[in-house]
Each structure stands twice: as C-alpha cells, then as structure tokens.
C-alpha cells in the first residue's frame, strides 16, 4: 500500500517570503497526487492535483507543485505567502490496493503559519 510522508509538521514564515512544503510518497508506480488545504474549523479543499503530463502543476491561490518521479516527491511551493495562507496542508496519494476502489492516503499534515 501507498504511504505519504510530510517531513515538516510546522513551517513558520514571514509574510511575502517564499515557502516550500515537502511531500514524499512510497511507490514509484503510476500515481495520482493531491494537495489539500484546511483552514481553521473547516473541511479540506483541493489546492491542486497531478495526474499526468507536465510535472509542474499550478493550483489555486498562487500555489504550485512539482512532481519528481525519481525522488518520489511532490513538493508544494508559493513564491510569496500571505497571512491568509495560514492553514494546514495535506499531501495525498491515490492508493490502488483495494480491488473495489481507490482510496486517498494522506500525510500527517504541515501547519503553515505566516507572520506579519
């Protein structure tokens, strides 16, 4: 089965600085990868997804992620963060180990805290 590792549990950063949130997954077979964001007291919403094609994926709110097959990574980046980006970010991979359907397997999350 797939697994996802988010190496940083917390990332503090000043406003307007660049940020990278790291994500590694376990398998090198074909995968579908996702980044979700969770604002305080809310559910998760999709930021972006990688299915195939270009390895650089652009998402909402100025975020982008790069798929690197050789390093089994899918790091999330933003060149200049805002206070409003303060949230928890989850990386997920589609797990095809069930015969019946694909599950999404999530990492443990990275809390991004943006300071003024």
């Amino acid at each position: 089965a797939q697994s996802v590792t988010q190496l940083d549990s917390q990332v503090p950063v000043f406003e307007e600085a660049p940020v990278e949130l790291r994500c590694n997954y376990s398998s090198s077979v074909s995968v579908y990868l996702f980044w979700y964001v969770q604002y305080p007291n809310q559910g998760l919403q999709l930021l972006l997804k990688y299915l195939s094609g270009s390895t650089l994926v652009k998402g909402i709110n100025g975020f982008e992620a790069e798929f690197n097959k050789s390093q089994t990574s899918f790091h999330l980046r933003k060149p200049s963060v805002h206070i409003s980006d303060t949230a928890e970010y989850f990386c997920a991979v589609s797990d095809q180990s069930s015969y019946n359907t694909d599950k999404l397997i999530f990492g443990t999350g990275t809390r991004l805290q943006v300071f003024p």
């Binding site: 549990s9 579908y32 809310q42 559910g43 998760l44 997804k49 989850f90 069930s98 359907t101």
Partner: protein, 113 residues
Amino acid sequence: DVKVTQSSRYLVKRTGEKVFLECVQDMDHENMFWYRQDPGLGLRLIYFSYDVKMKEKGDIPEGYSVSREKKERFSLILESASTNQTSMYLCASRKDDQDTEAFFGQGTRLTVV
C-alpha cells in the same frame, strides 16, 4: 456547487453511548469515506463504501461500524463511545475514477466525556 454535508459540527456524548455521525452528498458519487483527524497523525481512514450496502475497512476500523442504505448517505456508528474516540471526523465523497479528487464535509468535532 458540489456539497458534502455532515449533520453536526460539534457533538458531546457520554462514554458508552451509541453515536451516529451522518454524511450526505449531492454529487451522485459512488465512493464515500470516513476519516478521523488527530493532531500529528493526519487523516486516517476508518471505513469506506464503494456502492450502496458495500463497505470496506480502512486503517482503523476498530470500535466503528458504517451503514450505506442509500447512495447519497453514509453513516458512521460508534456502538459504545469511548474517550479515545474524541476526535475530528471528516466525511468525503469521490467519483469512481482514479484521477478525481475527494470532496470533504466541514467535519464533526466529537467529544466523549
């Protein structure tokens, strides 16, 4: 706009009570999921359902059961709530295609006292 609705945002129950968490989706999705979210542990899959009356255990099914009598509704049941089941519970639904994302409800924060 797509929607996954969880019946309660906050719930407080006593140890030993039977607890029902309800989730409804309006997107005609085949798959529905229940996750539990705890600090430092991320989202862990409890159960999922790929069709009406069909279910499969996730990574942490102990102490939980589920019911899916209609396509749009997926219920999580705690037969006898315990304090270690105090957590945030998230319901999600997803179309039966590998390349689609899951849509999440707002979450239910359950406290068992």
